[in-house]
Every structure is written in C-alpha cells, then in structure tokens.
Symmetry: C2
Subunit: 333 residues, 2 copies
C-alpha cells in the first residue's frame, strides 16, 4: 500500500555551481577516492566500467562529503553549539567525524538495529547516540526535538541543499578524472547522492544517461517516477540494503532528480548479494549492501552497458565481517 | 623435528640492477599498485604505516611480477614451447596469465586442496592443471617431469633469480613513492618476495631495517636464521596461510635474504585472523591469510614501529567469500 504525498517544491534545489562550491570546501579534507576498473567486469558487461570507490572515502562512505559540506557552511557561532542528525549509520559517522574536525559536539539519533560496526564507529568519533525504534518511532521528529533541546543545528541525512551538493562532488570527481560518460548508475536511498551527482554529471556531460538504483523492496522512487509525483511506502522496506530503507523521495531531492534522470532501476537483495561477492572475490573490495546496488543493476542486466562508458558509484563499505558473512549466506528463496 | 640442509650457494642470487631490469620489463604490464595509509592504523601502532596493496596487482597478488619477469626474459623460441609450474595458487595464476599474454601454453601442477577460487581463476586464464597431494607427493619432481614431457620451461614459484628480482619491484615502487623507510615488513613463504624486496630496499634506503614474517606453524626461516643455515621442517606446516606453507628456505633465496634482514618474525593464525578482520572492517580490503601476515606482526607488537616510517607488504587477496568467512570464524583455542 502506498500513499501519494502532497506536491511540494517544483524546481531543483541545487545548481552545478553549488557542487563546485562544495568541491572547494571539501578540498584537502575529503579524500579524492580512486576510480577502479576491472578487465573481468568489462568482459562481463561489454562496457567500459568506472567504479567510483567511496568505500575509501573518510568514514568509509560518500556521506562525509555532504555532511562536511553542510557543517563547513554554518556560521561559526551557530556551528559551535553543535550538530544533530538521524541516520541509519553512514551519515551518523559523517556528522560525527565532521563535528570532531571542528571540535564541536554531535548528537546522533540512530535506530536500535543499526549495524554494530556503525554504532561503534560513530561512538569512536566522540558523538553522543540517542536510539529509537526504526519500525515504530519517527526519527525525524526525535532528531528535531533533540536539536531544539540542545540549541544545536539539524543536519538532515539527504534532504538539504548543502548535503546534496556536497555528495555531488562524487560524480564531479569521477567525470573530471575519466572524461565524458554515456551512462551513470547511482545508488539511491533518499536521493542525496543522486540529486548531487545528476546535477554535476548533466552539467559536465550533457548527453549522459543517468539512472538511480534502489532495492526492489523499497521502490519508492520507482513508483514515484512512474506516477510523476512523490509516493510514500506504507511500511519501512525490509531489505539487506540498510542505507536505502527510505520510505519516500525527499521533498528537495525529488524535484532535483526527476528532470535529470532517465529512470529508476530496482535490484533484488540476491542481486545485491551476488554483486557484493563479485566485488569481494574479483576486485578485493568490501562493500555494504547499499553500496553495491548500482553495480548490481549493471551486472543483472537491468540496463544495457554494451559499448558504453559507464560510471558506477560504490557508495560505502561499512559492514563488519560477521554481518557480511551472515548477509551473503542468507539468500532469499 | 627438523633436518639441516646441506650448505649450497654462498652469495646473493640477485643484485639491485636485476630488480631495476625487472621494473623495465614489467612497465605497462604489471599494475603499479596503490600505497594505502590509515589514520586508525597509525594511531594503533604509533607509526606512519604504508601498505603496498598487491591485492590490486594483476591476478590479485604480487606473484605476477616475478612470473612475468621470468617468462618475459625467455628466448622467444624457448618461450613458445610453453611453461610449467607448481604452486599453491597465486604463482599458478601468475604463470597462467603471463602465458596467456604471450599466447603460449601453460601447465600448472597444483595441490588437490588448493582454494577453489584459485583453481577456477587459473583455469580462467586458459591453463591446464595437473593435481597432486600436498601431503604425500613431491610437487617439484612432478613439475619437472611434466616440463620434460612437454619440452616446456619450468618457472619455479620463488627459487629463481628472475622471479626474485621481479617480485622485488614491489619494494622498489613503494620506496620510490613514499621515500625512505625505517622499517620494512615482508610476508615470507619461500622467500621470493623478501629476497627481491630486501635487495631493492637496502639499495634505495641503506639504513632500513627489514624483517621477514612467517606463520608460527611454518617457522622454517626463523629456525634457519637462528642456526645460521637452512633448516627443513619435517612436515608441511598446517596453517591458514596457504601461501606460506613452505618447508625450507630456498637454495637461492636464503643466501640472498640472510645478510640483508634484521631477523624473522612469526605470527599465529589468530593474529593473522585479527589482521584480516582489521583490513576488512577498517580499510575495506579483502586479504588472504598469507597476505595479512606482515601487518599482523606489526599489529601484534612483534616489532616496535613507534615513531617510525614503516612499509608493509599486503601480498594478496585471492580468497573466496566462503573460505574467508570460514577461516575468520574457526579461531584456534
């Protein structure tokens, strides 16, 4: 069951110049992550594939780009009162690390079932954690209350122009490094990465065809794209891709993404598992489920990459060995 | 029980100029692998650590360097009759790929219990495989017989000057990229990597302190170093580090390594497991047990890296997901 959201903003929330400004703010702080290629991958897909490996970004995922861009842009006297966010994990670590770099307090509202490795890493950056029940409570409302109580600034995980433009530096760097692309496949949860990457990619490579990729169980973007308006899933999607369990496109990410993409692709949890295995065994990369989804769409043939130059985001690698082994072995029937 | 080997050659089998010549042969064919750093690793060890990630080498391990150097140096009319080798896996893939690049036949003598991922990858490069029982048969004798039968050239896994000098380009690249090092820790099986790396490192960075690192269960080098002569273990060592199950130092690697190293360190299988987990969870790298042994010595405090610039070889990542998960979970009591 789904609910159609009321129509909200109409135009894009960011422009290419915002992504360029973010790149300046992040220079020397965020890692310029490697672009990886594989002869095996090219043979399997018939494409020239360029993987932007945000697994090697600070905190192990692209989220540092958006969070640090947003926190860097705060007025110093506002920033020093601290920051708050709600997140399934990587954004939490991103906000925590950025706060640590600025020596300001960070409070993270996190689901009780967040992966232990993410909880430990967030605490490792010195942040306070407030837990909530992912399936019963409204994380956004809790985060807002915490921010009010502390006088701190809320840094949303995706639906914020500075977060979107910060994340867009992922595609900016990729295209700067490898040149024009025919296709770009981007992992899609709330749309914070896709909105920024699509904005940058279309500006740099106007002929590019851009696809967002989300898990089948959480196809809020695919449904929204089909209907031409934001659709909210009635339940939190159950998928191994814990970073892509959003119920609806963002109010700001949706109108930014919609005119720039060719469409939305979905992948099954088993297709994600196969891709995690491929990345592990053939490319020696550790990837969390959400981070493998865009490549899963290419490997599963959801889009035809033959004879094309294809950019793919590998968005994160924050998963413990035990969780990784468990997920790989629990295949869906 | 151990047996002392008869003394054989006395001087080093290679010189620095051999490593430099190998670097020329490998240019544009072998990957110049990345040097990885980690703030967490530096904090844990008090050192500045530079990991030379041969997991990203062609075939997923440093072995391509030695094998391709040796095969490249053959006279064309000899080379075209094909090559043969015996190997626990990575050298097999290295010879197979190099043969494929030269369009010549390759036959690999491989233990029946070699990891399935390595067998599949070797076949994937178009090589023929002849299996033998690691605990009962003499692999070297079988490989020699196969070579005679086919009129092909035997490419030994480590005890060959061209293999040693090819592998030495690993340390050559590392020091070229990061500058002088105080310490160099090298994974040690037959000594093919250590002999080449020590030769290059001492030439480039004369004050460097070099350690070989082998599994506790297969301490043939540590025993040899203590006695001042080659010692052969009575049994094939039982360790998770399948690439380091050699029974004795090589006839050529031993006299090359001995005068150049400070000593030999050993690590337990559990220390290797902990290091594989660290590399997975914090650095997002897949490493096979043998590949993690040198870093294990540093993380377990077998050598003091504090306030030093430490180079460490991460030698390979050829392990399937299932084997990785099994090894990590089967801790020794």
């Amino acid at each position: 069951m789904t609910i159609t959201e009321s129509k909200t903003t109409t135009g894009p929330a960011i422009r290419f110049s915002d992504v360029q400004a973010a790149a300046e703010r992040l220079r020397g702080v965020a890692h310029r992550t490697p672009v990886l290629t594989s002869r095996t991958l090219d043979e399997m897909t018939g494409a020239q594939v360029y993987l932007k490996a945000e697994t090697f970004q600070r905190i192990g995922a692209f989220k540092f780009r958006g969070a640090h861009n947003a926190i860097s842009a705060l007025e110093p006297e506002v920033r020093e009162r601290g920051v708050v966010t709600n997140s399934s994990g990587n954004h939490a670590q991103a906000v925590a690390l950025s706060a640590q770099l600025f020596s300001i307090p960070a409070t993270i509202v996190m689901p009780t079932d967040a992966p232990p490795a993410k909880i430990a890493a967030t605490r490792g950056y010195g942040a306070e954690i407030v837990f909530y029940d992912r399936y019963r409570e409204d994380r956004a409302a809790i985060a807002e209350q915490v921010a009010r109580d502390l006088g701190a600034t809320l840094i949303p995980p995706y639906d914020h122009p500075l977060v979107m433009s910060g994340n867009g530096t992922t595609a900016l760097e990729l295209i700067e490094e490898v040149g024009d692309l025919d296709l770009l496949l981007v992992c899609l949860g709330g749309g914070g990465l896709l909105s920024g990457c699509a904005t940058a990619a279309k500006a740099l490579s106007p002929e590019i065809e851009i696809w967002g990729v989300e898990p089948e169980a959480g196809d809020d973007w695919a449904q929204s794209y089909a209907r031409g308006e934001r659709v909210r899933l009635a339940e939190v999607p159950r998928t191994i891709a814990d970073g892509q369990q959003t119920e609806a496109p963002g109010v700001l990410t949706w109108p930014t993404v919609r005119p720039l993409v060719k469409g939305i692709l979905t992948v099954s949890d088993n297709e994600i598992r196969d891709t995690m295995r491929f990345l592990f065994e053939r490319m020696k990369l550790v990837t969390e489920p959400s981070g493998a989804s865009a490549l899963a769409a290419l490997l599963a043939g959801k889009v035809d990459g033959r004879d094309k130059r294809v950019g793919v985001t590998i968005t994160g690698g924050n998963i413990g060995v035990d969780g990784f082994c468990q997920i790989i072995n629990q295949r869906d029937a």
